[in-house]
Every structure is written in structure tokens, then in C-alpha cells.
């Protein structure tokens, strides 16, 4: 595999103004929605052959929407807070204008008859989906190598992975294909690729953003979040998509205050450094980088304190029981009977089920279905699934107790910077990528990956900030303060 040196060619660190400026320019007619969409499509056309961040563009529909928005603006109508802002959606989100594949042959060719709530809400404010981003099939993976539509490359070094499963979303933003992208984070799938690709990756409080219309991975930990170049862009997008959705019974009330209205003052704030987030396996380069930013927090007037969360050691094992259990259940509907992949000429109903699922799913989906079915099966439920629920409860209690004393938690995002394509072929070594991210998925807390550092080779290193459930706005403030201090 050719090793590309870190090159600015693949990186358009500021290809786009901030989201509010794009919308303001579209509203004033300085730069039209159509110009924005054409620009995004052009960058995709130029870079995607190398990066493979995109599965399909929604070119026709995107241009139509842009024309309509420009026409509305000309007529003096309000076109919304995100008027003319192009964005890219992870391809496990149902959207019009292109197939929704979840990067699996199982769902290839699926023309969604309805749109995800988050897409609907963005469109209602004038944003325009221009493309569907690559991912690990059904969001199973941490490198976007497990896609039936090609491996996404890290724009910083195309011999390395973009991370995953929202690798396409992270790489597309890093490559300047759009000012922001939507991703999903079930165990780190936004934060880890954001860390690898050098963008901001935000995983919201569980339930803050509707899961309706997003191909389910694990219902109790799936979250829909934003990848962008800045906290401000993340915050305004979150302001548009968040809040109760009548179509998702697990959604919660959003903040009553606009998410962009945050405080960056860290004076007197207590920030906990999680001891268990610095295990011996952690790449020293990552450890050093994150420690450097922790020191910055002291300069900003925050009080740093080390905290210990013993159950974090069991978080990954817990996650890999609960999540496959839910995966095995959520993927049951892909049975070859009603939509998309169905085995040819089945000899019986049983044969149709067995072959449709055997041929349609990839190895990783099948592995997780088998693990999940096992831990839920009679005789093993108590030994695995129920125990995992107990550990999850314990984990939540430990985090809650610590967050009584501190405002935010800090640590690395991933144990290492982007690794080489093909380097982690063993499933367990791939699962270990999630070791520092899964805890907040199990507890429902919000977290961000901030692109604060780089390796000597120029690969990005993310720093993870975490907060108590529903403290998303405060988290943005702390993140912004740290971004400014580390700039």
C-alpha cells in the first residue's frame, strides 16, 4: 500500500467559514446556497477517490434544495438558521436523495421512504445534505475498514485509517468536503474518528438527539452527534437537531438555553483527570499530549484533581455484552423477507432466512449477532447479560458520585493515533480501540473529542472532555476554552 506523507493536499483545514457565516452569506446573497453545494460537490469529486469518505452524493436533490432556498431568499423569505449550509450524513441515517446502505450489502439499494428526524430538523432550518458518508457496516468497527463500500482513508495520511465507525463523517470534514457532518456514537464512533482525523467530534447526552430514522446499532447507547471544525459549529447544529421527538420515546428535553450560549470561563471549575484513562497500554505520545492540555486547564483557572473510577476497567467487557445483545435483536429485521437483500431461489422459508442473513451480513455483524444471541440465550442470560447490567449500574453510580465533586472529566479519546490500514485485523484488538470511549455511552454522558495535538508524524491526537448528563452546553464552554488556550 502506498504511504502518503502527511500532505496539505488532503486537508482543507478551513475550506469553509463557520456555519453561521455561511448561513448569513447565503441569506444576504453574497455566497448562495447553490454555490455552497457546488463547492462541496466539487471538493468531494476531487478528494473522494483518495479518501473514500463518501458512499454517494445526493447531488440532484441537494442542487434542487439549494435552488429553492436561494429563490426563497430572493423572495425575502426566511430560509432558516442554517440556510444554504451543506452537510454530510453518515450513511446509517435515512435521507432522501440517495440510498441508505449502512455500508452493508444487506441494505444496499435501500431508498428510504422517510427521513431521520435529525435530517428533517436540519432541512427545516435550510441546511442541505450533499452526501452520505462511509462507515463500518452497521457501525460495527473502529476504522471504517469494515465497509462493503471501500475503506475510508485518513486525510492526514492515506495509509492510515480514519477511525470508525463514523470514519467517513470525520474524514469528510477533515478534507473540507462540508463544514459539518453527522455521525453516530454507540461506543466511541464519533469521538475516535474525530481524534484520528483532527476534527471536533461531539457525542451528546443519550436521548438528546432523536434516533428515529437512524439504522439502530445498540438502542440504549446509540447517540447522534456532530463532527465539525469548531465548537461553535457543533453547538449551532446541535441547537437545531436536539430535543424531544414524538417518534422516539427515549428522547429528552433539550436545554432551555441556546447551545451556542455557553460560558468559557473555567475559573473555579473542577476538572477530574480519570486515573483509569491512562493505562499502561496508552501510547506515550498520546499520554504526553493530553497531559499538556490538562496543564493548560490549570492556566485557565480550573482546579485539576485526579479521580478514580474502578468500574471503568470492566466497561469494555460490559459494553461488549450489552451492545451485541442489542445488535442481535436490532438486526433481526434484516431477514430478507420485506426489503433489500434476499437470497436467490430459496428452497424454503427457513432456507430464505438462513441464506439471506448468511450472505447479506458481513463477518463482523454475524460475529456480534452470535455473541448477542449467546448472552441473551436461556442459561447464559444471568451469567452475562444480567451481570453486565449490574456493572453498568455500578459504572453510572461511580461516575455520578465523581461528578458530584467535579464539573468535567478529562482523558484521552483513543489509546493511540490513527493506525495503519490492515494493522488491527484481530477483532479483539479492534475492540480495544473503544476502551476509553465506551464508558460514557454506558452512562449516557456527553463527551467531545477535541483536536488539540499531533504526533511528530503529524497525525492528530484528540483530547476527550466529558460532563454530567444534560450538561452539554457547559461542556461546549469548557471545550471552547481549551480549544482557544491550545490554539
Amino acid at each position: 500500500m502506498p504511504t502518503a506523507k502527511p500532505t496539505d493536499d488532503n486537508l482543507v483545514s478551513r475550506a469553509w467559514p463557520c456555519v453561521t457565516d455561511i448561513a448569513a452569506e447565503a441569506a444576504s446573497g453574497t455566497v448562495t446556497a447553490t454555490e455552497n453545494v457546488k463547492k462541496a460537490l466539487q471538493i468531494i469529486a476531487d478528494k473522494n477517490p483518495d479518501i473514500q469518505a463518501i458512499i454517494t452524493t445526493t447531488e440532484e436533490r441537494a442542487l434542487q434544495r439549494a435552488l429553492a432556498i436561494d429563490a426563497a431568499i430572493k423572495n425575502g423569505e426566511s430560509a432558516g438558521r442554517l440556510a444554504g449550509v451543506p452537510f454530510i450524513a453518515k450513511d446509517n441515517m435515512l435521507a432522501f436523495g440517495a440510498d441508505t446502505t449502512a455500508a452493508s450489502n444487506m441494505l444496499a439499494g435501500f431508498d428510504a421512504p422517510y427521513q431521520a428526524t435529525v435530517i428533517e430538523r436540519l432541512e427545516a432550518e435550510g441546511a442541505i445534505c450533499v452526501a452520505k458518508a462511509n462507515l463500518d457496516a452497521f457501525a460495527h468497527g473502529a476504522s471504517t475498514e469494515n465497509s462493503d463500500f471501500g475503506v475510508t482513508k485518513n486525510p492526514h495520511d492515506t495509509s492510515t485509517v480514519a477511525g470508525g465507525s463514523s470514519g467517513g463523517s470525520a474524514a469528510s470534514v477533515a478534507a473540507g468536503m462540508a463544514p459539518f457532518a453527522l455521525g453516530t456514537d454507540t461506543g466511541g464512533s464519533i469521538r475516535q474518528p474525530a481524534s484520528f482525523c483532527g476534527v471536533v467530534g461531539y457525542k451528546p447526552t443519550y436521548g438528546l438527539n432523536s434516533r428515529f430514522g437512524v439504522v439502530a446499532m445498540a438502542s440504549s447507547t446509540d447517540t447522534i452527534g456532530v463532527l465539525a471544525q469548531s465548537i461553535d459549529d457543533v453547538a449551532i447544529v446541535n441547537d437545531v437537531i436536539s430535543g424531544v421527538d414524538p417518534s422516539d420515546g427515549t428522547t429528552i428535553n433539550r436545554d432551555t438555553v441556546t447551545y451556542t450560549d455557553y460560558s468559557t470561563s473555567l475559573k473555579g471549575k473542577k476538572i477530574g483527570v480519570i486515573k483509569e484513562y491512562f493505562p499502561k497500554e496508552l501510547d506515550p505520545v498520546v499520554a504526553q499530549d493530553v497531559s499538556r492540555h490538562i496543564d493548560k486547564l490549570t492556566e485557565l483557572g480550573a482546579e485539576i484533581t485526579e479521580v478514580t473510577l474502578p468500574s471503568v476497567a470492566a466497561a469494555l467487557a460490559t459494553y461488549y455484552i450489552i451492545v451485541p445483545a442489542e445488535v442481535s435483536s436490532n438486526l433481526a429485521r434484516h431477514d430478507g423477507q420485506r426489503f433489500q437483500f434476499s437470497a436467490e431461489t430459496p428452497s424454503s422459508l427457513q432456507d430464505s432466512y438462513v441464506r439471506s442473513r448468511s450472505e447479506g451480513f458481513g463477518a463482523e455483524a454475524k460475529r456480534r449477532i452470535m455473541m448477542g444471541a449467546h448472552v441473551l440465550s436461556s442459561g447464559y442470560y444471568d451469567a452475562y447479560y444480567n451481570k453486565a447490567l449490574l456493572v453498568r449500574t455500578k459504572l453510572i453510580q461511580e461516575f455520578d458520585a465523581v461528578l458530584q465533586d467535579v464539573d468535567f472529566l478529562i482523558g484521552p479519546v483513543a489509546p493511540n493515533p490513527a493506525f495503519k490500514i490492515g494493522e488491527n485485523e484481530d477483532p479483539v484488538s479492534m475492540y480495544l480501540q473503544d476502551i476509553l470511549t465506551v464508558s460514557v455511552n454506558l452512562t449516557g454522558m456527553p463527551a467531545v473529542s477535541l483536536p488539540l495535538g499531533t504526533t511528530p508524524d503529524g497525525l492528530p491526537i484528540g483530547t476527550q472532555l466529558m460532563a454530567q448528563r444534560n450538561d452539554d452546553r457547559a461542556l461546549f464552554g469548557a471545550a471552547q476554552a481549551l480549544m482557544e488556550a491550545s490554539a
Binding site: A112, P113, F212, A216, G249
Partner: protein, 494 residues
Amino acid sequence: MADDTYLVDGYLPTIGIECHVQLRTATKLFGVMSNDARGAEPNTLVDQVCFGLPGALPVLNEEAVRRAAQAAFALNTTPQPFSKFDRKHYFYPDLPKGYQISQFEEPIILGGSIDIVQEDGTTKTVNITRAHLEEDAGKSTHPAGGDYSLVDLNRAGTPLLEIVSEPEMHSAHEAKAFAHELWLRMKFADVSDVDLYQGNMRFDVNVSVSKNPEELGTRSETKNLNSFKSVEKAVNYEIARQIQLLEQGEAIVQETRGWVDDKQKTVSQRSKEDAHDYRYFPDPDIPPIVLSEEYIADVASSVPDMPDVWRGRLGALGVERATIETLLEARVDVDEQILDCIVAAGSDARVKTYANWIVNIEVPLRKERAQQSKAIDVTPERRTSVYDGVALLIEADKLSSNNAKSLIVELLSTDTLPADFEAHAQSKGYIQMSDSSAIESIVQEVLDANPQAVTDVQNGEQKAIGFLVGQVMKVSKGTANPALAKEIITKLIA
């Protein structure tokens, strides 16, 4: 009843019943699609949720929760303050998601009981184990000779309450009585429309027999019975079948059976060896149901009186037991408010009269009209006006019972009631002749025409008076007051 009266050839039958009750809701258990699949073209009441499309999520229908809470009171208990949903996994084409959403570990109803009326009129309490909310599957049909099956998902997601009884019944009659009592209660409490023809209630009967009353035998489960009669027949068939097998030295297989009405027998469908591991686990898409004390109290106050209360009330008013049961059924399958007029009747005579009118006039009339798709709607106010108005005319000796029936039928079916009932009845020729002189001339005419009967009366044959009264009624076209006619006949002959 003593246990030995239950014995069949020395075996004690034991029966437990599971009943799926379709809840009366506008929409499905977890979505916005209509719940009324009657007459709908296949797969027209289906959206992404019912179809199990990727990304679709279940959102709990609060109306279904309310109905289930009402059911708790109909089962003499209260709903659980905390309950939750689980997923039950199996693959079948009419189960779109690959799992059914049900309540496995923490159902909305735990415990409860209902009293059933036995053949001898005594009551027996049957305990309820639990009742849980779940969604129905779709409908599969397998065309004869075809190499395909058809799936209709209109019914997929229909809200059901599955009520499970303790195995405490010991005869087909008790099983039938339980099913019937459940039917009454689910309607009285407004839980379900309880239309058996539409499958609103489906019964599964678990039957076993044992020579040792301390120990249950191996049971069979006969599923999807949709009438009280089939419950009774299936139980009787299973008791006989199982005893015959045991007498032949064979073992009973634990299995699922179906009732074949054409053949009047049960047939094996699935043995326990085929039983699935359903891999139940809590559904992470649906937050638990948490009912506050205020909510439960509010439901409690909204649930109307149950059949046993009505039995007591109507019995105290002097209505006969058999009539009461017919009236309770009328409240279920004709009109929920039909019994109110009896309670408000005002006198013992009217109580009996109104009960009689409901059973013999209004119920047959309305059932007949409903069958002809000309259903009539009778408001409680209209019923009270009609019944009271007609009763007044009868009490004033102005209306015969035959004419009363004609008048009631007419007034229940017309849109506007006459302002003056008597004038209206008069115009229809229903009013009894109570004018002595007018009746006397008819009586005279009848006596002249029937000299033999007159002689018979004079010879003390009382039957002949009846004959003569009948003749007077005939000549007067039913308008003569029969009591007055008899009086005049006696007077003239004497």
C-alpha cells in the same frame, strides 16, 4: 363444588386459560397507524413502524396503557406502578422486526381474580396470575396448493392484553363461564370492544387430567379459540382425549394444539421440543411504564361497576337471575347504557317491565337491525322517554302489551319522538278502548255470535270466558281493554 363432582372416570381435569384481549384504542400499541383493521385492504394500515423498517422506533400508545390499567380493576386488582417491555425473539414473516414487544418480567398486572357463576348458581373465585401488554403479529395465509404464503401486516402492532389465569378450573363449564365472565368484564370496564367475531378476544386453554388431585398431569394448550362454545368443546375434547390416552397406557405429550371446528376436535400443532429460546431482554427503545398514585386513582374512579355489582343491584330490584344474565350480555353486545333505565324505573312493576322490554323487545330489535346493517342508536334519554311514556299508557290501562311492543319498536327506530304519546298511539289505533259503552256493544255483538260459548260460561266453564275475551279483542282489533271486556262479559251473561 366438591372436588369429586369434577371427576371424569376418576380423573380430575384442571384448566388454566390465557386470553388475548384486543384493547380499544384508536391506534396501534407503538405507533400512529389506525388500529381498526376491519374491512381494510391488506397492508394498508402499515407505516415504517409496523413494517419494521430500519430506523423505525416504537412509541408507546398511552391509551393502551390506560385500557390495561382499567382491566386491572376489572380483574379486582390495581395496575402495577412500575412495568416494562421486553423483546421476544423469533423469526416469522408476519413478525416484521424479528421480535415481538411484550412484557415478560414486569407485567402491568400481577394477581387479581374474578368470580364465575357456576351451573348451580353459586360463585367460584378464579385467580389471575398476571396480565401483560403486547403487540399482535400480522396475519399469514397459506393459499391451498400455492407455493407461497401471504402476509397482511394490518394487524401487526395491534395492542393486546394477555390475561393468564391460575389453573383453578376443573370442568368445561367452568372454563366457559370464566371466558364469558372475562368477556363481560372487559366490556364493562371499557377495555375492549370484545367482538368475538372480529377476534377481539382469543382464548388458549391449558388442559391436563390427573388421578392424583395433588399433582397436575402433563398439559396440552389448545390455542386461538374465539367463542365460548369452542372453549367448552375443546376442553371437553381434551379431557376425553387425554383420559383415553392414559387409560391406554400412553403418555400425554406437552404440546400446542388447535381446534378444528369442522371436525369438532383438537389437532397437534407443535410439540414442546420445538419450543423456542425467545431470548427475552428489556426493550431499550421503550422507557418503563410508571403510573403515579394519582393516575391509578383516576383510572379507578373512571371504571364503571362490574357485572357482579349489577347482579346484586338488579337482583335486589327483583329481576330474575336468568334475566339478569341476559341483561348483562345486552350491556356488552347491544348497548353499554341499556341497564340504566331499569335502575331508574321507579317502581317494582316498572323494573320488571323494563327488564322484559330490554330482553324481549329492544335487544332482538337492535340485533336484527344491526344484522341488516341498519343499526339504530338509542340514547339513554330516548329510551327513558319511550319506556316511561309507554309505561304510563299501560298503567292507565290504555295500551295492551302487544300494542306496547309495536309502539316501542316504532318509537325506538324513529328519529323524532311524538310530543304526545297518547295522541300518537291513538292515531296508530293502539289505544285500548276503555269506554264501557263502546266495549259493551262489541261484547253484545260477540255474545250474539257465540251462543254456545255463552251457554258454556253459564255452565261454569271459565275457559269459555277467555275465548269470548279473545273474540272481543279480535273484533276491536286489539284496542279493547281485555280486563274491562271480561268484566262486561261476566256482567252481561250473569
